[in-house]
């Protein structure tokens, strides 16, 4: 009798890429819901636009290259890229912002390198940074979160859509009235004007330990992140490195002058810290892959983010931190090979 021949192991593998991506999408849900609560429909609209564009772009490139379209889309990674990119964008950004970002993320940052698994840089972050650099205006137009009564304007779904797609504001509002800086931006601006932390804290933007709304959004991403850890979708090294690095350096400076530097807690619960730590920096493809390397990778992002937040030209530095460490990841991997079993210590 004759039998087919394949290499061992012969037991069927237990995991698959599609499931991994699905878990990450699931874990994003609390954060998405929370962001929608604070920032309105725009969040969801962004997600829909970005995710659709990402998937369509991926399908187009695959078709162009004559690769299997359906099978590849099933890995859900393009979808995830779209969602993550959308979560970084201001909720009322015009529609072409997520579109351009997604195209860049998928076509240039991912498919030019051969698609899933080969991209050296985090596609979503490339998309975001390209937008930030090319359209800084659109990318700084954040609206005040629910909870800041003074300025809050509750746009309903159709108003949101009108604003995003046709750039038409509801009557009697101006775009200036609608927008307001994010806590990180405001802090940076205020320090630039020579205000002390104490004065800054008095602003209505600030909540319990971070910015109003932002602290809860970060908290819900943290919950999603813990779920991923529990499901062993991600390892603890990168989040620990990132949050640890950010916390420690913030602590050092906060300790040196509590009035000139925001507290570590503020840093951990502002901007993209939690989203970055658990969902973005952990993108396995572009991160370091050795355990020690991952710790270093995360810590690097934390430190760079702090430096850029504090002294740099941008309000948040997570995205740049991720890209810069992506750049260093192959080198980090090279120099952090673990000690192999039986090799001298």
């Amino acid at each position: 009798m004759l039998f087919p021949v394949f290499s061992s192991p012969h037991l069927p593998a237990q995991n698959n890429v599609s499931r991994v991506m699905g878990e990450v999408l699931l874990a994003l849900l609390p954060g998405i819901l929370c962001a929608t609560w604070f920032f309105g429909w725009g969040v969801l609209v962004n997600i829909v636009i970005a995710a659709t564009t990402c998937v369509a772009a991926e399908a187009a490139v695959l078709a162009l290259r004559g690769r299997a379209v359906r099978a590849t889309l099933a890995d859900r990674s393009a979808l995830l890229t779209g969602v993550l990119l959308a979560l970084c964008l201001p909720p009322l950004a015009p529609w072409w912002i997520p579109v351009i970002g997604s195209l860049f993320a998928i076509v240039i940052a991912k498919q030019l390198y051969g698609g899933l698994g080969y991209n050296p840089f985090n596609p979503a972050m490339i998309g975001y940074v390209v937008l930030l650099i090319s359209y800084p205006r659109e990318l700084t137009l954040w609206i005040p979160p629910t909870g800041i009564e003074a300025q809050h304007l509750n746009l309903n779904l159709s108003q949101t859509l009108a604003l995003i797609f046709t750039n038409s504001l509801p009557a009697e509002t101006t775009i200036d009235a609608l927008t307001m800086p994010t806590p990180l931006d405001a802090t940076k601006t205020a320090f630039g004007l020579g205000q002390t932390l104490h004065e800054i804290k008095a602003s209505p933007l600030f909540g319990h330990f971070g910015g109003v709304g932002w602290e809860w959004i970060n908290l819900s991403f943290l919950i999603g992140g813990l779920y991923l850890l529990a499901r062993r979708v991600i390892s603890w090294h990168i989040p620990a490195g990132l949050l640890g690095g950010l916390f420690l350096i913030a602590l050092v400076f906060y300790g040196s002058d509590t009035d000139a530097f925001p507290s570590p807690l503020f840093h951990l619960f502002s901007g993209a810290a939690m989203l970055g730590a658990f969902f973005i920096a952990t993108d396995p493809v572009s991160a370091a892959t050795t355990p020690r390397g991952r710790l270093l990778f995360g810590a690097g992002i934390g430190v760079i983010a702090y430096v850029i937040r504090t002294w740099g030209g941008y309000p948040d530095g997570i995205a740049f931190g991720v890209l810069l460490m992506n750049m260093a990841a192959p080198t980090i991997d090279y120099y952090t090979k673990p000690r192999v079993f039986g090799q001298s210590k």
Partner: protein
């Protein structure tokens, strides 16, 4: 060493062995000054001049040079030529000179020039060296202008902006606003856009080459058929 034909030298410089797209030499000016097409043209022409002059000179003295001072001598020749061009440019195209900035003196170390001196001029007759310098330079300029145009178009939606810097006041009107009310795509003008733009150009060349080759093969395949019939 046998002397290559003039046409093959020209083909090399303009396409097959283009310094900007294939040899990847002279990248610094290529990327740095190509925010607009006119800038590219200016630097390109300066480079052509330098290449021709240095190639011819080096070819003339190629039998005199001792190995241990070969590089210093080549560099001296090139540097003299460049400085003369630089001074003249500063005198006659001052604004363009200001924009091209540090990259004019840096033509001296433009690897394409010393590369040609080493690889070609020091081994061939002045005539051929001249043609080589000219075509290599033109090939380089061609890439500079295309890349500049591309970045200008994507970045700010115009073409030939600031043409007056080179062609005088009359050229002010040459600027073409290709897309009205274009929001601009800053990335294209910033450093990352320069790298990516050149990357795309090279990919484009690869695609064209592949097409040409396929066509050539088809022709080859088609030819024996009538012969057999």
């Amino acid at each position: 060493m046998s002397e290559p034909s003039y046409s093959s030298i020209a083909r090399d410089g303009l396409w097959t062995n283009n310094p900007g797209l294939v040899q990847l030499l002279g990248l610094c000016p290529l990327l740095a000054v190509t925010a607009t097409a006119i800038n590219g043209l200016g630097l390109g022409l300066a480079t052509v001049l330098t290449l021709v002059a240095s190639n011819v000179t080096i070819s003339l003295i190629r039998h005199l040079v001792r190995p241990e001072v070969r590089i210093p001598v080549f560099v001296l020749v090139i540097a003299s030529v460049v400085t003369m061009i630089e001074l003249s440019m500063n005198a006659y195209f001052h604004e363009l000179y200001n924009i091209l900035g540090i990259f004019i003196p840096l033509i001296v170390t433009n690897c394409a020039i010393i590369g040609r001196a080493e690889a070609f001029a020091s081994k061939h007759s002045p005539g051929r060296a001249c043609v080589d310098g000219l075509t290599m330079g033109l090939g380089f300029t061609f890439v500079l202008v295309i890349l500049g145009g591309l970045r200008e178009l994507v970045g700010q939606g115009t073409l030939l902006a600031q043409a007056h810097l080179m062609f005088g006041e009359a050229a002010r009107t040459w600027t073409i606003m290709v897309i009205e009310d274009y929001r601009g795509f800053l990335l294209a003008i910033l450093p990352p856009g320069a790298f990516m733009g050149l990357g795309l150009l090279i990919a484009l060349k690869n695609i064209i080459d592949a097409r040409l080759q396929r066509r050539a093969q088809q022709v080859m395949a088609a030819q024996p058929a009538p012969a057999a019939a």
